[in-house]
């Protein structure tokens, strides 16, 4: 681009001096109207026209090139943003599914431990500790699910957000503290069914969108690899663009 600009400046300069030379060497009179081409007439009007035309053409090509380059950059940014959004969506669903697995495991464990707590009098303290640890896990996971919903709600469907919130509410309501401050999980089957329904909805609304290998790739547009590929793409496009213009010119000749 710089080489082209320097060449253009030299061309304009040489044409300008040529027109000046023509103007000084000619004798303008009434027989020489402004655009007449005769021996001894002033041809500077023609040279001005040519120079202005060339400058206009150069500026036209230059601005067109700038606009093209800019649109390419925008296209890449939009594609990058789109890919990032897809990755965030996949990450949100994966996180939710992992949290649901933890929930189901913990709830299932609590359900197994509670009858043992009632029957086994020797290890009561130990079993109670285990039950409480699982309740802590459930409570933490519910908070984690809420965090996922908070930070990634822009990539999830509203219906899914509502359903997950309802699920969290159901689990929270499941904590019934009796007079001995003993927690109790009311309905494991209901929660399990809700989670299964929710996961079916996930798969329907958000089918597999991102290859897993690409999930943890860096996506920052400032990363060196991205900048390199962006530059490479722009240069390739420019080369193709000028090739296309030259082909057109030669074919018209």
């Amino acid at each position: 681009m710089i080489v082209l600009s320097i060449a253009m400046v030299f061309l304009v300069q040489s044409l300008y001096f040529a027109s000046q030379a023509l103007a000084t060497s000619s004798n303008a009179n009434n027989d020489c109207p402004i655009f007449s081409i005769k021996y001894g007439c002033d041809l500077s009007a023609w040279s001005h026209l040519i120079i202005d035309g060339l400058i206009a053409a150069f500026l036209g090509v230059f601005f067109h090139h700038l606009a093209h380059k800019q649109s390419l950059k925008l296209k890449i940014i939009v594609e990058e943003h789109d890919a990032m959004r897809k990755r965030r969506k996949e990450f949100a669903i994966q996180s939710l599914k992992n949290h649901f697995t933890t929930l189901l495991f913990s709830m299932s464990l609590v359900n197994r431990l509670e009858p043992m707590y009632a029957s086994d009098t020797k290890n009561r303290d130990n079993i109670k500790d285990q039950i409480n640890r699982n309740y802590e896990i459930i409570s933490r996971v519910v908070n984690d699910i809420k965090n996922v919903m908070f930070f990634l709600n822009d990539v999830l469907e509203p219906q899914i957000i509502t359903d997950v919130n309802q699920l969290c509410q159901t689990i929270n309501q499941g904590y019934v503290k009796d007079e001995n401050k003993q927690s109790k999980l009311t309905d494991y089957t209901e929660t399990k069914n809700k989670i299964n329904r929710l996961c079916r909805t996930f798969d329907e609304v958000h089918p597999a969108i991102v290859p897993i290998q690409g999930l943890f790739k860096r996506t920052s547009p400032d990363s060196p690899s991205n900048t390199r590929s962006l530059k490479k793409l722009i240069y390739q496009e420019i080369v193709l663009y000028y090739r296309h213009i030259f082909k057109r010119v030669y074919s018209s000749k």
């Binding site: 996949e90 669903i93 994966q94 996180s95 599914k97 992992n98 649901f100 697995t101 933890t102 929930l103 189901l104 495991f105 913990s106 299932s108 464990l109 285990q130 896990i137 996971v141 399990k192 989670i195 299964n196 996961c199 996930f202 798969d203 958000h206 089918p207 597999a208 969108i209 991102v210 897993i212 290998q213 999930l215 943890f216």
Partner: protein, 120 residues
């Protein structure tokens, strides 16, 4: 039954540790693919529960490494994943030598049942 869990989710690992070790199995877990690969090379396991989406060294990397070393078919590797993997992708992995796939979320009873089936 000797089971190796490769998963970056600590809660799942610890819960499986409680359940599986409590029900007479020997369960060992690692949090990343690199460590998992090391364990598979050094020890013999009846079942390997492998998560696919892990940062740095993913489940796919583990499978590819095992495939290169010819160790993939020597293990019963069960994919235990929350990723939206396509059925075709799973079929491809099974053709390569992976045993089967369990999609998260899953019920504990279902998982135990599945592990018993695999062992038989």
């Amino acid at each position: 039954m000797k089971i190796l869990g490769i998963d970056d989710n600590t809660d799942i690992n610890e819960l499986l540790d409680t359940v599986l070790n409590g029900s007479g199995h020997e369960f060992i877990y690692v949090k990343n693919g690199t460590e998992g690969l090391k364990f598979i090379r050094e020890k013999k396991f009846d079942i390997v529960l492998l998560d696919l989406a892990m940062p740095e060294f993913s489940g796919f990397d583990v499978i590819n490494s095992l495939l290169k070393e010819g160790l993939l078919t020597k293990q019963k590797i069960i994919l235990f994943t929350a990723s939206s993997v396509l059925d075709s992708e799973i079929e491809e992995l099974i053709k390569k030598g992976v045993h089967s796939c369990i999609r998260k979320p899953v019920d504990l009873d279902f998982l135990l049942e599945k592990l018993e089936q695999v062992q038989v």
